[in-house]
């Protein structure tokens, strides 16, 4: 077996309450590596020809929780959550930083695959003795903070009972869902450590559909052994030296960007992206920093420490705890709702995370609703109260309503895209009339970086061609090369903010696994294989919606409206360039002019079993 893998995965049927161990052969691991790639492969193998008819919420729909061979060894340990996405109907490799990842590996497992549906709420506990289904009725309905506290106590006591004489048991690692996931809010996240989320893809809802509240791991074993230990140790040291020298990120994280991305780059979502520029000095970094109680906060094996811990100690939001918030939530739980007071943003971020909404996607839908209110499409009667930009109390109420699916919250809980279609129906309008206000690609709400000013790291086709839709961590820029990096991090499963340089990362991967992996092998084979499989599954889609090649490989209408103000006033995304870049991207990957993988490409990448389905799509 290659190095870096524990070699075992747990296969759990929640309906039959059966747990067994499975493994994958070397060829599969070489071809799909781990995390995002391996999850797509497992899904395709298990679902296959039933894909288009599979409701992601059906019991047989798998929920896949995977590490990769780099997890916990390369800096910045993460977990990758995947499955058929209830949002895009394709697959997303959604990752979150968490101690759960290395605990799982030290318990002797690379991942857990769940199918079935529990009768009553459960959580799944993994130790070196295997996996067990545990009752979780007492945890159902609990917010993030409460879930962590209760599970830390409960699992701690259970471990002590089982092995009382080994010294004090350290708390376990865990991923969990909040009320939003329990109530199957379609775009909700799988959470960890109060403020970390595997947000894109709607896997909180998928987990909720299985009545699975949490997955908890406590491992006492060694991290899976690398193929070349001395080289791996040396590269580990080198990687950290590079990260430690990254003083800007270590000092500020992304916590000062809430001001600068808007003021300097004009690419920050404001009031549901009606504008992307602001010059609100109230939103400047130092006004956030005064709430930082810890200025360097990191996850396992990370020295980037981009996080800070924030806490509001007095006033109406007393007791709210979160990280910086990071830029994405400063934007989505702040400016995009018209909130320009740091304290309101910290409160909103803490609340959204605690409820288990995905901090980008859930608030995107809230911003969409507020624009409908602004345009008098939704009224006070529909919502139950006024929903004006900047009204923090109103958005607080709305976040709860969506999480609990109360009133209009039940409609908005379907995510921005589906909510638009439902509300259009309610109001006797055509879907297009409302979809023009939805900022998404393939149903997945777009991260907080706009393309209109062309000043940010994302450009014209970045989202349009992304197999993970609006996911800002997996965008295409200059063709395929930069996306290939994202697929590598999501499949090796480590953090994007712990990137060092390609040579070192691939040397690292080679030292750990013993595979003949290189930048070239990844660029030419593994990366394209994973992204081609993801593309095929995304375009197969179904059952409730299906994306149309070319037409849906595009930015949302709002990204073609001219910027209304600021230094880049009048600028907008160049549609011609979008089309050109998409063509170039398709060509690079060996897909036809509509982005359907060709027969030759499928054969070359050893995924020829997709051919019958792609042939139908090509016709």
């Amino acid at each position: 077996m290659p190095g870096g893998y524990a070699g075992k995965f747990l296969d759990v049927d929640l309906t039959k309450e059966r747990v067994k161990e499975v493994s994958f052969d070397d060829k599969t691991l070489w071809q799909y590596f781990g995390g995002r790639g391996l999850a797509a492969k497992i899904l395709w193998d298990r679902v296959g020809k039933k894909w288009e008819n599979l409701d992601p919420y059906a019991p047989e729909s798998p929920l896949i929780v995977l590490t990769g061979p780099m997890t916990g060894i390369y800096p910045g340990g993460r977990i990758c959550v995947s499955g058929k996405s209830p949002v895009s109907m394709g697959t997303v490799g959604s990752t979150a930083s968490t101690e759960f990842a290395h605990e799982l590996r030290c318990a002797g497992y690379d991942g857990v695959i769940f199918t079935g549906k529990a009768e009553k709420p459960v959580y799944f506990l993994v130790t070196n003795d295997g996996g067990e289904i545990m009752p979780a009725e007492h945890l159902w309905g609990k917010v993030g903070e409460e879930t962590i506290k209760m599970l830390n106590r409960e699992v701690g006591e259970e471990m002590k009972k089982r092995k009382p004489n080994v010294g004090i048991w350290r708390e376990p690692g865990m991923v969990y869902i909040g009320p939003a996931g329990e109530n199957m809010v379609r775009n909700s996240g799988v959470m960890s450590k109060i403020c970390h989320a595997a947000g894109y893809g709607g896997y909180g809802a998928l987990m909720g559909s299985k009545k699975l509240k949490a997955v908890v791991a406590k491992g006492r074993g060694k991290m899976p052994a690398p193929d070349a230990p001395e080289a791996a140790k040396l590269l580990w040291k080198k990687a950290h030296q590079i990260l430690i020298a990254n003083s800007e990120m270590r000092r500020y994280g992304t916590g000062y960007l809430g001001y600068t991305v808007g003021a300097d780059l004009s690419s920050e979502p404001i009031k549901n992206w009606q504008t992307e520029w602001h010059d609100e000095k109230s939103y400047a970094g130092p006004r956030f920093e005064q709430y930082w109680v810890k200025k360097k906060w990191a996850d396992f094996n990370c020295t980037t420490n981009c996080m800070k811990v924030s806490c509001i100690k007095n006033g109406r939001w007393k007791g709210d705890i979160t990280d910086l918030p990071d830029y994405e939530l400063q934007a989505y739980c702040g400016t995009n709702l018209g909130l320009f007071e740091p304290v309101d943003n910290i409160h909103m971020s803490a609340l959204i995370d605690n409820l288990g909404h995905s901090g980008i996607n859930g608030p995107n839908t809230m911003g969409f609703a507020a624009e409908l209110y602004q345009r008098k499409i939704l009224t006070k009667k529909d919502i139950g109260f006024e929903l004006n930009w900047g009204d923090v109390e109103a958005f607080t109420k709305l976040a709860w309503m969506i999480a609990k699916r109360e009133g209009i919250g039940d409609v908005l809980a379907e995510g921005s895209y589906r909510a638009a279609i439902k509300i259009a129906e309610m109001k006797g309008k055509k879907p297009e009339e409302l979809l023009k206000y939805v900022v998404h690609v393939k149903g997945i709400e777009i991260g907080a970086h706009g393309t209109r000013s062309d000043m940010d790291y994302v450009h014209d086709a970045s989202y349009a061609g992304n197999v993970q839709g609006g996911d800002h961590t997996s965008t295409i820029g200059d063709g395929y090369s930069d996306m290939s990096d994202a697929i590598f991090a999501d499949s090796g499963v480590f953090c994007d903010f712990c990137r060092t340089n390609r040579e070192l990362e691939f040397d690292f991967a080679k030292a750990v696994t013993g595979f003949p992996i290189t930048v070239e092998s990844w660029r030419k084979e593994t990366g394209p294989r994973i992204v081609t499989l993801q593309r095929a599954l995304l375009m197969l889609g179904g059952p409730d919606l299906k994306w149309e090649p070319v037409k849906d490989d595009d930015n949302p209408p709002r990204f073609y409206e001219p910027l209304p103000e600021g230094p880049y006033k009048g600028k907008t995304t160049d549609k011609k360039r979008v089309d050109q870049k998409l063509m170039a991207y398709f060509e690079t990957l060996g897909w036809d002019e509509r982005g359907i993988p060709t027969k030759e490409t499928l054969k070359r990448l050893d995924i020829a079993d997709l051919e019958p389905y792609m042939k139908k799509m090509r016709a």
Binding site: I73, P164, N165, R170, E171, A225, P229, K294, D299, K313
Partner: protein
């Protein structure tokens, strides 16, 4: 280095746990967090507590050992474990005011920080990253020393109030 020990600043710990990685790489040959002689507890996110031996001057662990498996290293004053003599009874864990010793997840023998013979790896990596949550100091015994050998949850509860105010009283 007659009176060295590893002082710790809990508020400065980022929770990166590189100390555990460096410790286990040195003593176990590879990453093994639960075999590390230093373990960072996190009873609630943001509350990170490095937990390791503080070399109390009265060494209650040594006194408690029924087989005399524990002794003091004359050079560093660290606690040394004779793995042949250890019977894994856990008396040292119970005697320690901070319940610091662990039974090694491999051979189930008492395992305690030996200060890496005076040049501890954990301190080096913590310093390298600029956290300085762990500091090697050379100072005589003091009544305060036992404040560093306490149950990590107890320490975390204080840290919680320090960081989060009133809310801190209910997070753990």
């Amino acid at each position: 280095m007659a009176n060295i020990w590893i002082a710790r600043d809990y508020a400065a710990c980022s929770g990166c746990k590189r100390c555990e990685i460096a410790c286990s790489m040195k003593h176990e040959g590879w990453i093994w967090p639960e075999a590390s002689r230093i373990r960072v507890f996190m009873p609630f996110p943001g509350l990170e507590v490095p937990h390791l031996c503080a070399q109390c001057s009265d060494y209650p662990c040594i006194g408690s050992c029924p087989t005399k498996a524990l002794s003091v290293d004359p050079a560093t004053k660290a606690v040394l474990v004779d793995r042949e003599k250890c019977i894994s009874c856990g008396a040292c864990v119970r005697a320690c005011p901070g319940n610091v010793p662990i039974m090694h997840p491999g051979d189930n023998k008492a395992t305690i920080c030996n200060l890496c013979n005076g040049d501890p790896e954990c301190v080096k990596v913590c310093k390298e990253a600029g956290y300085n949550a762990l500091m090697l100091v050379d100072e005589g015994p003091s009544v305060n020393r036992k404040l560093f050998s306490r149950h990590p949850v107890e320490v975390a509860k204080e840290l919680a109030v320090y960081f989060f105010g009133e809310k801190g009283e209910e997070v753990i």
